[in-house]
C-alpha cells in the first residue's frame, strides 16, 4: 500500500487512487493520417520495465485530478510526482 503525495491534496493512502497506466503517450492530433501500425503503436503498445516507470495516477476518491508519477517498479518507490503537462524528470 503506497502513500501517494497528490500534488493537489497532499499525502494520501493508495486506496484513494487509481492507476492509469503508462504516462506520456499523447493521443495523436491527426489519427486519420496514421497507418494501422502507427495507430496500433499508440493504442496497444506499452512498456513493462523493471526500474523507473512513468505512469499516470488519478486521485479518484479525492480531488479527481490526474497527475504523473515516476515509480521504481522493482521496489515501488515513488521517485517523483509531477502534474499533467509537465516534462518527465530525468532520473
Amino acid at each position: 500500500m503506497f502513500l501517494i503525495n497528490c500534488p493537489y491534496c497532499g499525502e494520501r493512502d493508495q486506496s484513494e487512487f487509481v492507476s492509469g497506466g503508462e504516462a506520456h503517450i499523447a493521443r495523436p492530433k491527426q489519427p486519420t493520417e496514421l497507418n494501422d501500425d502507427q495507430w496500433a503503436e499508440y493504442l496497444f503498445m506499452r512498456k513493462n520495465i523493471k526500474g523507473i516507470q512513468f505512469e499516470r495516477w488519478n486521485h479518484a476518491h479525492g480531488c479527481r485530478k490526474w497527475f504523473n508519477v515516476a515509480r521504481d517498479t522493482s521496489n515501488d518507490k515513488i521517485e517523483k510526482i509531477y502534474k499533467m503537462g509537465e516534462q518527465p524528470p530525468k532520473i
Partner: protein
C-alpha cells in the same frame, strides 16, 4: 494429581484464582496467568495431539507461536469453535473446553496410528505418486483423502462475534516488547517521538522478565529487576502507546503494517458478551523497529518427536514464569550455552536434572562453569541416538560422536528421562523483515540468516537481528536505535551489563545415529511429519530448488509455517548438495505471521455492510408493492412486480402488455447522469460521441454512442441540451462511474484547452418514466398547463416545468418504442412524483414495470443494451448501427479504429435477430449457435445475447451475435441444447413497429 509439578509463589501466575477447564472431556484445573499449555503440563499432560500423516503421539513442545504439536480445537459450539489454536498461546480462562485434533477415537488410542507402522510405505510424495492412476479412480480417492486432510474442524455456523478495524499513525512503531524493544521505545520517547509499541503476549518484558540467573546483571541489578523498573517507567510515558496481546500479522511496503489485537479470547465465555473479539490495526509508521526476538531450534535425531521432548527455552519458561515442572527426570540435550540457563533454573527450583548431553567437546563460559560446579553430569561430544516411550518419553540412548561428527562410536548409554529439553541454537525472527521486502544475509558463525538490505525506514534490533547475548543485545540496540533516530545521547549510554559469553560453537544439522538413515525417524517438521529422510529423497528425485523441496515434502507448510523446521531443512539440503546455505536462500516468508480469522480480516464489512446498496428515492414504494429486485452494479433495481403468486414470466407478460396497450411506469433513477457545462461543451460532445452534436438545439435531446479508443462500443445514452452551454448526459446504470472518469481523463490530459466542467448528478435526480398510448393523457393530468402537442413538445425534446414548488425536467424520449415521458425531479421529490404518476394513471391501468419488462420492450424494438448485447468486442458497425457514425466529423474517440484491418473484417460477429421455428420455444441467453452439429469439431458461429417471449407479437424473439451475421438473414441455423436442438431463422433486429409509429402514441 499425585506428582508435584507446581512450584509455588510465582509472580506471573495468580494461585488465588483457580480456573477449571475441560480437556478431552476431563475436568482439570489451572490458575489465572497460565496458558492452556502450562495448565496441561501442570496436570502432567504432555500428549495432546496426533501428527498429521503418521498419527504419532505428540506433546507440547514450545511456549510460543512456533508450537507445531499442541494445536487444539477450542470450544464445542457450532458457531464459536476455533480450530488449530496453539495451546501455548491461548490464555487459560474459566470454563475453557478443548479437544485434541486429528485422532479417532481418542488421542490416547488413535486408529490412524497404524500409519506409523506403514510409514516405510508412505514416503514424501506418496499421495502424488499413488493416487494418479488410473485417472478415473480419482473421485474415489478424493473422498478418502479429503477425509484425512486438514486438522481441526471449521465452525459450521456464522461467526457471531464482532470484529473491528482501526487506523493508527505513529512516528516509531516497535514490534516486540522484549528488552531491546523497550529500550528503543524509551530512547524514542525521550526524543519526543510518538511511539506505538506492540507485544503479542499479555505482559511486556520478553524472556528477560522471568530471567532468574545470577550471572546476568544490568547496572549491578538482577536483569529482570532492572527490566521491571524500565517497564514501569514506560507504562507511565505519555509518548508511548502500548498494545499488548497484539501480534503483527503483515508488514507491507511503505511501512504499512497490520496487527491483530486479541480483546476477549482470554476472558471466560460469559464475560465476552457485547465485546469486540479482535481488532485489526492498520498502521502507518514513519519508522519501524523490529525487535521480535528469536526462536530456539530443536535438534534433529532419531525419534525426536516423542511427548516430553521440548525446547530447552520452553522448559525454562514453564519453570521460571508459570512455575510448572515439565518432568521429574529431566535431561538436557544441546549444542550451545543457552540450554545451561535451563539447567540452572531446574536446579534452582529443585527439579531433578539427570544429565546434560552436549555435542560440543567442551565449553568454558561462566554459565557452563557454574553448572559444572553444581556437580551435574555433562556428556561432552555425545549425541542422542534414540528415545523410548510411545506416549511419553521414558528413556534416551546416547553415544559418542566421532571426530568429524558424522558418525557415532563407542558404547550406548541409556538414561532415564521423562522430559528431554533440546536446544539446537537460535533463529532470529526475520519474517517481518523479509515480508517487507528486505534481503537476508547468511551468518556462517552462528548459522543464521540475519537482516541485511532494505528499502524502507526500518531497523532490526536484539536477537531478531542476530544478537543473542545480553551485553550485545543491549549495547547494540542502544547504539543502533540512536543512529536510526539520529540521536546523540541517551539515558542508557552508561549502561553496565554483565553476562556469560559463549566461546565454543558447533552445529550438526542432522545428527548421526547408530542405525542407517532409512531406519530412523529424525523429524524436521513435526506438524507435517516430514523427516530428514524425506528431504534427502526429494533431492535424490531431482528437486533442487528449496521452494520445490518444501512443496514436495510439505516441510514448513503447516499452520506453524515451518518456524521450527525451515532452518534444518535448509541445512540438510546444503550439506547433502554441498552448497553454502547463503547461496541456497530461504523459502518465502508470507503474511500473516500467525494465522488470522476471517472475521478479523473483514471486520465490520459483513452483512449489509459487505458492500454498499444504492436505493432509488422510490425504493420504499417498490418494496411496498411487492417488487422483486435485481442488483445492477451497486443499485437495487425493481426487477418485476409479481401479483397474486405470478411467476416472473407471467408478471413480465402482464407488465409489457400494459405498457404497449395502455401505460406503464419505470423507475429510471439509476441511469447515470452527468451535468456538462462550459463554452466548449458542444465541441466536447462531438469528440466523445460518434455522431454529430453541432446542430442540437436548446431543448432537444439526442441519443449518442460512445466508443473506446479501440473502436468498441463503451456506453450509450441520451443527452439533452438544457441551455446554450449546459447539457445533461445520461449513461447506462452500470457504466456511470466509468464514463465519468473516462471523460474526466480526456478533459484533463488530452484536451485541457477545452472549457468544460463535469459533475456527476446521478444521485441528485430521480426519474419516473411513463410510457404507452395513454402516457400523454397521464402527463397532462399532472402538468395541466404544459402543451404536450407534437408541434410544441415533439419526440426527443425537453421542457422545464413546475409542479407547485418542484422543478421538473420532462423529456420526451423512449426506450420502449412507445410514446414516453421521463420526469426528472430533485431526488427528495422522487417518491412524490412517482406516486403522483401512479395516481394520475389509475384510470389508465398504469402498471409499474421492472427491468425485465424494460429489457423485453426494448428488445422488441431492437434497441441494444451495452454490456448485454455488446461485450467490448463490438463496433457500431457490428451492431448494424452504421447510421450513428458521423461521416463529417474529422475525429472522435475510437474513429481511427473503425477502419483498422481487424475492425473492417467481413466475418466479424454481428448483431442479428433470431426467430425460433416453434414460436413458443424461448432460447436461452448465452446459448451457442451452429450451422451443422454433425461436423466435428462443431463451428461455433455465435451466441444468443437477449431472449424473450413477446406477448404483443405472440412469439419468442431473440438478439444474437453471429459471425457474418449481416449476410445470413433468412438462413436456418441450429441452437443445440442439452436435451434438444432448436431450429432458428436469422432475422432483422427490429421485431415490432419498424415504421416507428408508436412513438407518437
Amino acid at each position: 494429581m499425585s506428582k508435584n509439578l507446581r512450584i509455588n509463589n510465582k509472580q506471573f501466575v495468580d494461585e488465588t484464582r483457580k480456573l477449571s477447564f475441560i480437556f478431552n472431556g476431563k475436568k482439570l484445573y489451572g490458575y489465572k496467568g497460565d496458558t492452556l499449555a502450562s495448565a496441561l503440563l501442570s496436570n502432567d499432560i504432555h500428549l495432546v495431539g496426533r501428527s498429521f500423516k503418521y498419527h504419532r503421539p505428540r506433546g507440547i513442545m514450545t511456549s510460543g507461536s512456533e508450537e507445531p504439536n499442541a494445536i487444539l480445537q477450542i470450544g464445542n459450539d457450532d458457531a464459536l469453535t476455533d480450530p488449530n489454536v496453539r495451546a501455548t498461546e491461548i490464555e487459560l480462562y474459566d470454563g475453557l473446553i478443548c479437544n485434541s485434533q486429528n485422532c479417532w477415537p481418542s488421542v490416547k488410542f488413535d486408529i490412524g496410528g497404524i500409519n506409523n507402522f506403514l510409514s516405510p510405505l508412505l514416503p514424501a510424495g506418496f499421495y502424488y505418486k499413488t493416487f494418479m492412476w488410473p485417472a478415473s479412480f480419482w473421485e474415489k480417492y478424493e473422498y478418502f483423502i479429503r477425509k484425512s486432510a486438514g486438522l481441526g474442524k471449521s465452525p459450521t455456523k456464522q461467526d457471531p462475534d464482532m470484529y473491528d478495524h482501526r487506523y493508527m499513525h505513529c512516528d516509531i512503531l516497535i514490534v516486540g516488547g522484549g528488552v531491546s524493544g523497550l529500550i528503543a521505545a524509551k530512547i524514542a520517547s525521550d526524543d519526543n517521538k510518538k511511539v506505538l509499541l506492540l507485544e503479542d503476549k499479555e505482559l511486556l518484558g520478553g524472556s528477560l522478565i522471568y530471567d532468574d540467573n545470577d550471572i546476568s546483571k544490568i547496572d549491578n541489578q538482577k536483569s529482570s529487576e532492572w527490566l521491571k523498573k524500565l517497564i514501569e517507567n514506560i507504562k507511565n510515558d505519555k509518548n508511548i502507546i502500548i498494545k499488548t496481546r497484539t501480534s503483527l500479522a503483515a508488514y507491507h511496503n511503505y511501512n504499512f503494517l497490520l496487527a491483530r489485537q486479541n480483546l476477549t479470547d482470554h476472558l471466560s465465555v460469559n464475560d465476552r458478551n457485547n465485546k469486540i473479539r479482535q481488532r485489526l490495526y492498520k498502521i502507518r509508521a514513519k519508522k519501524v523497529i523490529i525487535s521480535t526476538g528469536a526462536i530456539e531450534r530443536p535438534q534433529v535425531f532419531h525419534n525426536n518427536d516423542r511427548p516430553g521432548i521440548m525446547l530447552a527455552s520452553a522448559v525454562k519458561k514453564y519453570i521460571d514464569y508459570y512455575g510448572v515442572r515439565c518432568g521429574l527426570e529431566n535431561v538436557i540435550f544441546t549444542n550451545n550455552d543457552s540450554a545451561y540457563e535451563t539447567a540452572l533454573s531446574l536446579h534452582k527450583s529443585g527439579t531433578k536434572l539427570n544429565a546434560i548431553i552436549d555435542i560440543r567437546d567442551n565449553s568454558s563460559s561462566e554459565i557452563v562453569n557454574k553448572v559444572k560446579s553444581l556437580g551435574i553430569q555433562i556428556y561432552w561430544n555425545h549425541t542422542v541416538v534414540n528415545t523410548k516411550g510411545y506416549k511419553r518419553i521414558n528413556k534416551i540412548i546416547i553415544m559418542k560422536l566421532n571426530d568429524k561428527g558424522n558418525d557415532v562410536i563407542g558404547k550406548k548409554i541409556e538414561l532415564n528421562c521423562d522430559c528431554l529439553a533440546i536446544s539446537g541454537g537460535w533463529t532470529p525472527m526475520v519474517h517481518l523483515f523479509t515480508q517487507s521486502g528486505g534481503k537476508l544475509r547468511f551468518d556462517n558463525k552462528d548459522n543464521i540468516f540475519v537482516p541485511d538490505k532494505t528499502n524502507l525506514d526500518q531497523l532490526s534490533i536484539g536477537s531478531a537481528k542476530g544478537d543473542f547475548e545480553l551485553d550485545d543485545v543491549l549495547k547494540n540496540s542502544i547504539k543502533d536505535t540512536k543512529k536510526f533516530l539520529n540521536i546523540e545521547n541517551s539515558n542508557f549510554d552508561k549502561i553496565d551489563v554483565k553476562c556469560s559469553k559463549e566461546k565454543e560453537k558447533k552445529n550438526i544439522w542432522l545428527l548421526p545415529s547408530d542405525r542407517p538413515l532409512s531406519k530412523t525417524k529424525p523429524f524436521l517438521d513435526y506438524q507435517n511429519d516430514s523427516t530428514a529422510k524425506d528431504i534427502k529423497l526429494a533431492l535424490r528425485e531431482g528437486f533442487k530448488s528449496i521452494e520445490h523441496v518444501k512443496r514436495y515434502t510439505t516441510t514448513g507448510m503447516g499452520t506453524d509455517q515451518g518456524k521450527l523446521a525451515n532452518m534444518h531443512a535448509l541445512g540438510i539440503v546444503a550439506d547433502t548438495t554441498n552448497t553454502n546455505m547463503g547461496d541456497l536462500g530461504t523459502t518465502t516468508f508470507r503474511p500473516p505471521y500467525t494465522p488470522l480469522t476471517f472475521g478479523t480480516i473483514v471486520g465490520r464489512n459483513v452483512g449489509q455492510f459487505f458492500d454498499i446498496f444504492r436505493k432509488t428515492p422510490m425504493h420504499e414504494w417498490h418494496v411496498e408493492n411487492n417488487a422483486k429486485f435485481e442488483n445492477v452494479g451497486q443499485w437495487k433495481r425493481a426487477w418485476y412486480y409479481p401479483k397474486d403468486g405470478e411467476t416472473m414470466h407471467d408478471a413480465v407478460q402482464r407488465e409489457s402488455k400494459a405498457a404497449r396497450e395502455s401505460s406503464g411506469i419505470l423507475d429510471a433513477s439509476t441511469l447515470g447522469k452527468i451535468d456538462i457545462q462550459g463554452t466548449d461543451a458542444n465541441e466536447f460532445l462531438n469528440r466523445v460521441y460518434t455522431n454529430a452534436w453541432s446542430k442540437l438545439q436548446i431543448g432537444k435531446c439526442r441519443y449518442g454512442l460512445m466508443l473506446n479508443e479501440d473502436g468498441m462500443v463503451y456506453d450509450d445514452g441520451v443527452t439533452t441540451r438544457l441551455s446554450e452551454n449546459h447539457y445533461l448526459m445520461t449513461t447506462t446504470t452500470g457504466g456511470a462511474a466509468n464514463v465519468m472518469s473516462k471523460l474526466e481523463d480526456y478533459l484533463q490530459t488530452e484536451w485541457p484547452e477545452l472549457d468544460v466542467f463535469l459533475t456527476s448528478v446521478t444521485d441528485h435526480y430521480a426519474t419516473a418514466s411513463v410510457c404507452g398510448p395513454n402516457a400523454k393523457k397521464i402527463i397532462n393530468k399532472i402538468f395541466k398547463d404544459l402543451d404536450l402537442s407534437d408541434e410544441s413538445f415533439p419526440h426527443m425534446s425537453f421542457k422545464e416545468v413546475k409542479l407547485g414548488e418542484i422543478n421538473c425536467r420532462v423529456m420526451r424520449i423512449s426506450f420502449t418504442g412507445e410514446l414516453s415521458y421521463e420526469i426528472n425531479v430533485e431526488a427528495s421529490y422522487g417518491k412524490y412524483i412517482w406516486e403522483k404518476c401512479i395516481e394520475a394513471g389509475k384510470e389508465f391501468n398504469i402498471t409499474p414495470y421492472g427491468t425485465e419488462t424494460m429489457h423485453l420492450l426494448r428488445a422488441e424494438k431492437g434497441f441494444i443494451i451495452v454490456g448485454q448485447d455488446t461485450d467490448g468486442t463490438m463496433t457500431p458497425v457490428d451492431l448494424q448501427m452504421d447510421w450513428i457514425i458521423s461521416k463529417k466529423k474529422y475525429d472522435f474517440i475510437g474513429k481511427r479504429s473503425l477502419y483498422r484491418s481487424d475492425t473492417i473484417r467481413e466475418d466479424r460477429k454481428q448483431l442479428v435477430g433470431l426467430l425460433t421455428d416453434d414460436p413458443n420455444e424461448i432460447l436461452e441467453e448465452g446459448a451457442q449457435i451452429v450451422k451443422d452439429e454433425n461436423k466435428k469439431p462443431v463451428d461455433m458461429l455465435g451466441h444468443v445475447t437477449s431472449s424473450y417471449f413477446s406477448p404483443t407479437l405472440k412469439k419468442s424473439i431473440a438478439l444474437a451475435v453471429l459471425k457474418e451475421g449481416k449476410q445470413l438473414k433468412g438462413q436456418k441455423l441450429l441452437v443445440p441444447m442439452i436435451d434438444k436442438t432448436i431450429k432458428v431463422t436469422v432475422s432483422d433486429t427490429i421485431f415490432l413497429d419498424k415504421e416507428n409509429e408508436r412513438i407518437n402514441g
